[in-house]
């Protein structure tokens, strides 16, 4: 097997784990750190990093999985669009198995609807070019990392006159839920690992508020094991010293101001909106909707019959997303709710907290953090 990259080199990982252990000795109590990016959840679980952390450092996953926080109503509408005559629904693979009120996109594809997985919004645009007689709807979910790619595809559609390319926006942005979490008395988070690739777009400055407004330290980190452990070490250091700061440890790709070209393109097409986060309820200004002048690109305006959303009974996804409980505390976990028969979206997405826990943590010999 090829040698791991320097960012994943086992000696460096072991050394950093030791440094974290040492740094944690200066903590006066157990601390809870939260990451808010599904890709972090996945990467941490894949490397078994939790097993390297000291008992005083608890690392939990917050609402960073865009598929997990997509409300049932969005998937219901996507299904209805898939059933609409002359419509092709294009989507990232992540959404295919998310449970809707009555099924999923995978199921409706099984019934004959044209649902296609794409790797890029550009591929969806290409499908629109190749099928001028159909309405092609792209299910636009994702956080700040992905929104610019959708905006770019829309820009191309506008300039090339591809009139049959529409999107159903389910986009959300990170700072508002983090503010909501910081204000929520039920939530006790002492430090944040900030999403590295969201920060490439927004810039590390966008997260300065975490320390400035709430006095909580936060670190922008990448996704390799050394990146994550350096972040944990820095947070523990801030907490031990009582000095909340926002630090950028992913400077190889994250700049303070971010990607201004991307930001401008997003601003051209989208405006903030109050949207529902599954499990967290409505959070003001936390979503992105198409601006009115792009109504012709908005699949939400297509007339389809969408049933009343049915939230699964007993599902405690909301508390899991807030970090208030660990997956095993949900009565449905690993019984009624498993990756093969998921109840809540936390279990469907491979990096949803419950799925990651089921896959990687559930049967870890010894500790079940």
């Amino acid at each position: 097997m090829s040698a791991p990259s320097p960012y994943g080199e086992p000696q460096a990982v072991a050394a950093l784990a030791e440094r974290v252990m040492k740094a944690a000795e200066r903590l006066s109590r157990r601390v809870t750190l939260m990451e808010v990016c599904g890709t972090h959840t996945h990467a941490i679980a894949a490397a078994g990093l939790r097993r390297l952390l000291p008992a005083k450092v608890r690392l939990i996953a917050g609402p960073g999985c865009p598929v997990c926080v997509t409300p049932v109503g969005y998937v219901d509408r996507a299904e209805a669009l898939a059933r609409r005559p002359g419509t092709i629904v294009t989507t990232f693979g992540d959404l295919l198995r998310v449970p809707s009120s009555r099924g999923s996109l995978e199921r409706v594809r099984g019934e004959g609807a044209d649902v296609r997985i794409v790797y890029s919004p550009r591929d969806a645009l290409q499908i629109a070019r190749e099928n001028p007689g159909s309405t092609v709807v792209f299910l636009a979910v994702g956080f700040e990392t992905t929104v610019p790619t959708v905006a770019a595809a829309l820009a191309e559609a506008e300039s090339d006159g591809v009139g049959n390319f529409l999107i159903l926006s389910g986009h959300k942005i990170m700072p508002p839920p983090m503010r909501a979490l910081a204000r929520d008395p039920e939530v006790q988070v002492d430090g944040y690992l900030l999403p590295g690739h969201v920060s490439v777009i927004t810039g590390s400055n966008a997260f300065a508020f975490v320390a400035e407004e709430f006095g909580i330290p936060a670190v922008v980190v990448g996704f390799t094991p050394t990146d994550v452990l350096r972040g944990v070490e820095a947070l523990v250091g801030c907490l031990a010293a009582g000095k909340p700061e926002v630090i950028n440890l992913y400077s190889r790709v994250v700049r303070p101001e971010g990607n201004t070209t991307a930001q401008a393109l997003v601003a051209r097409f989208f405006t903030t909106a109050d949207v529902v986060w599954r499990g967290l309820g409505s959070i003001p200004g936390s979503g992105l909707a198409l601006r009115p002048e792009f109504a012709h690109r908005d699949a939400a305006l297509l007339e389809v019959e969408v049933p009343e959303p049915v939230e699964p009974a007993g599902c405690r996804c909301g508390e899991v997303l807030k970090g208030s409980i660990d997956p095993p505390e949900c009565p449905l976990f690993a019984t009624a709710c498993t990756p093969t028969s998921p109840v809540g979206a936390c279990m469907v997405s491979s990096e949803g907290t419950c799925a990651a826990w089921y896959r990687h943590e559930r049967l870890a010999t010894g500790d079940a953090r």
Partner: protein, 75 residues
Amino acid sequence: MCLAVPMKLIERSEALGVAELDGVRREVSLMLQPDAKLGDYVLVHAGYVIGTVDEEEAQATIELLRQVADARGTW
């Protein structure tokens, strides 16, 4: 929502380019990073270049990790 991979930009035209990682190539859009240069290491997400890798910062990080690994257990 962050699966982005560093790749090398080996071809570019106006708004499109070709990025490569260990022999695997993909056409990428440069609309979000129009000033990316041939030979740059770029961050690719969903078929778009969303950022460039700062070589100096990358090297500094690698050097730091090397020092950390070497110093293991000695402090």
